[in-house]
């Protein structure tokens, strides 16, 4: 007689516990629904409709017409979209590896035992994280102007003639530099934090075995920070694909960046300058899908590497 009552009471207790879990989750779920789910669904709907005038004439009333995947075909057939994607590809291909490599290098330098002014350097490297990217672009934008910039003045004093970065293909250098300046600090600190969790005994043992700082960095520290590195790589890829504020800010100082330079800038133009929400929604979705696929690829590579390294340890 006793057991069933006990059981029902634990079940009802569990139910009331679960009720509390739902209560805790509810506010987040509501906001997630409003800020994520509904906009995504809404943009998917927009992407399969088109606003067209009924009959002919510019003043004929416009109607939403279901067009299946016509908008997708339209965006994918548009050469400016592909040109933007290509520029984004070039930009990412340079930016992401440089960012990841420099972050690792700086973190390893910071972690060396004999380095001086460590706390100061760490702070200075992290500082740009607190600077909004538009303001970083503004500051660098002025530093790219030869008549104002100390970099050009110093170059001139040494007889060096630096080319202006806000022109032609060098505009990539200008954008990448702003992004690197703003991004390296945070990534360095993430990798550095991961290095701190490496047991000191392991490094001491390697040192006693006759390893120098370089071999320790290469064979002890580097394998240890692989997960953190892939994480920073993932953030950098996601960040690279949504680059917007830096080129947008720099475009106020140069004609080398037009309104369709990167895909996201084109989306903005479609939505606000052209008042074509359907095309903007379509391009947003294509970009989002591409980003998620790329992220999954990075996560997949990560799993593969960790699996292989854990196999290596077992062997």
């Amino acid at each position: 007689m006793k057991t069933p009552t006990l059981r029902t009471s634990t079940i009802s207790a569990k139910r009331s516990h679960n009720r509390f879990a739902y209560v805790l989750l509810l506010p987040a779920l509501i906001l997630f629904f409003v800020a994520f789910v509904v906009p995504i669904v809404y943009s998917i709907v927009l992407s399969v409709f088109s606003r067209r005038s009924d009959g002919g004439g510019a003043f004929a009333p416009k109607q939403d017409v279901f067009v299946w995947f016509e908008n997708y075909a339209g965006v994918l057939a548009d050469p400016t979209f592909w040109a933007g994607l290509q520029r984004l590809g070039i930009y990412s291909l340079f930016m992401v590896p440089i960012l990841v490599i420099l972050s690792i290098a700086l973190a390893l330098l910071l972690d060396l035992p004999k380095v001086k002014l460590r706390a100061f350097s760490r702070m200075a490297i992290f500082l740009p994280y607190g600077v909004p990217s538009v303001i970083a672009a503004l500051m660098w934008g002025f530093l790219y102007v030869p008549a104002i910039s100390p970099i050009y003045q110093i170059g001139e004093a040494f007889g060096l003639d630096f080319p202006p970065l806000l022109r032609g293909d060098l505009i990539y250098t200008a954008i990448i530099n702003v992004v690197l300046w703003g991004g390296i600090g945070f990534n360095t600190i993430i990798v550095y934090t991961a290095l701190q969790s490496l047991p000191k005994e392991l490094i001491d043992a390697a040192r006693i075995d006759g390893c120098n700082e370089f071999t320790i960095a290469r064979y002890v520290k580097l394998p240890h920070i692989v997960p953190a590195t892939i994480l920073t790589g993932l953030f950098s890829v996601i960040g690279a694909l949504q680059v917007y504020s830096e080129p947008q800010m720099l475009s106020t100082l140069t004609t080398a960046i037009n309104s369709t330079f990167f895909p996201l800038m084109r989306v903005y133009r479609d939505a606000f300058a052209h008042d074509d929400l359907n095309s903007a929604a379509t391009a947003s979705i294509i970009l989002a899908v591409a980003t998620v696929l790329l992220s999954l690829l990075v996560v997949g590579i990560r799993t593969l590497i960790t699996r292989r390294s854990s196999h290596a340890i077992q062997d």
Binding site: A13, N18, A21, Y22, L24, L25, P27, A28, L29, A35, F36, V37, V38, P39, Y42, L106, L109, K114, V115, L117, R118, F120, S121, M123, A124, F126, L127, Y129, G130, V131, P132, S133, V134, I135, L138, M139, W140, A147, I148, P150, W181, I184, G185, I189, I190, T193, A194, S197, P227, L231, I238, Q242, Y244, M249, T252, Y268, A280, A281, L287, A288
Partner: protein
């Protein structure tokens, strides 16, 4: 005694100090690169637009007071308002999103309930989805609801961060033992009391990190307010600086003002980053994908 001091001295000299010189120089090179724009802005903000083009980069000009006065008088004294807007968006957004992350992360980490898996998958999708590609769809929706050009248009999207929930989840799993919850239950504590008096204090260091990440993320956000707000009195400092420089093309006099504006705009966040740096638990992020 004597021999021991000698061995100590020997030990000290046997560790070559020069080993640190090259790395130190490399690091200082990086330091110069990272602080160069900030130091330059410090000098440039003291110059009139004319001096900007004619004087040495690292010399003080005569226009600092003039620039500051012009900056705070620009557009009927809106600069202070833009700073205040940034502060409102960042503070409210970071507070709300941290609280929501705490509740959701705690629930996901410590309770086993129907639908948990679906929520986790949705959340992870939200982490991978670039928030910026959401900005335009959010705008379209909010325009339909008629809440663009209000504080809500920025506050609602920044008050929810799947990454924050994920971090809170990871942190809760690592720092709140499930046995503690059981023990509290046996002692007759209600679930809410356990959460408030045991869960939240244990989660606190992680929540501080989520708050700081989110605060700086919102303060630095440009695209979302740029899309949502077309009224000058609602924009944060990032959008205001963009609009100011955009007009500078036709009125170069705005250049020295924009530079001064950049200096004033970065001082609060940089101070914030420096003061709170030691409260960060960034190992939370570096370990979150394990």
């Amino acid at each position: 005694m004597r021999s021991r001091t000698r061995t100590n001295a020997l030990l000290r000299t046997s560790r070559p100090r020069k080993g640190g010189i090259i790395p130190t120089f490399l690091l200082l090179g990086a330091v110069v690169y990272f602080i160069l724009p900030i130091v330059w802005v410090l000098f440039a903000s003291t110059k009139t637009t004319g001096e900007l083009f004619t004087t040495d980069s690292f010399s003080f000009g005569t226009g600092f007071v003039e620039n500051i006065v012009a900056l705070f008088a620009y557009e009927n004294g809106s600069f202070g308002l833009w700073l205040a807007n940034s502060f409102i968006y960042a503070l409210v957004g970071a507070l709300v999103s941290t609280l929501l992350s705490a509740g959701a992360g705690y629930a996901l980490a410590l309770y086993d309930f129907p639908g948990k898996k679906a929520i986790m998958i949705g959340l992870l999708g939200g982490v991978l989805l670039p928030t910026i590609t959401l900005a335009i769809p959010q705008y379209m929706l909010f325009a339909q609801l008629g809440i663009t050009n209000t504080y809500w248009a920025v506050l609602i999207p920044v008050s929810i961060t799947p990454f924050g929930i994920y971090l809170a989840y990871v942190y809760a799993r690592a720092s709140v033992p499930g046995e503690l919850l059981e023990a509290a239950r046996v002692d007759g504590s209600t679930e809410f009391r356990t959460f408030r008096s045991i869960g939240l204090p244990l989660l606190f260091p992680g929540l501080v990190t989520i708050f700081l990440l989110q605060f700086i993320g919102i303060w630095n956000n440009f695209l979302l307010p740029y899309i949502m707000q077309s009224k000058s009195e609602l924009v944060p400092i990032t959008v205001a600086m963009y609009l100011m420089l955009n007009r500078g093309g036709s009125e170069p006099i705005l250049y020295s003002m924009a530079i001064t504006g950049a200096l004033v705009a970065i001082i609060p966040v940089i101070a914030f980053v420096l003061v709170l740096q030691r409260f960060w638990r960034l190992d939370l992020i570096s370990g979150s994908l394990k």
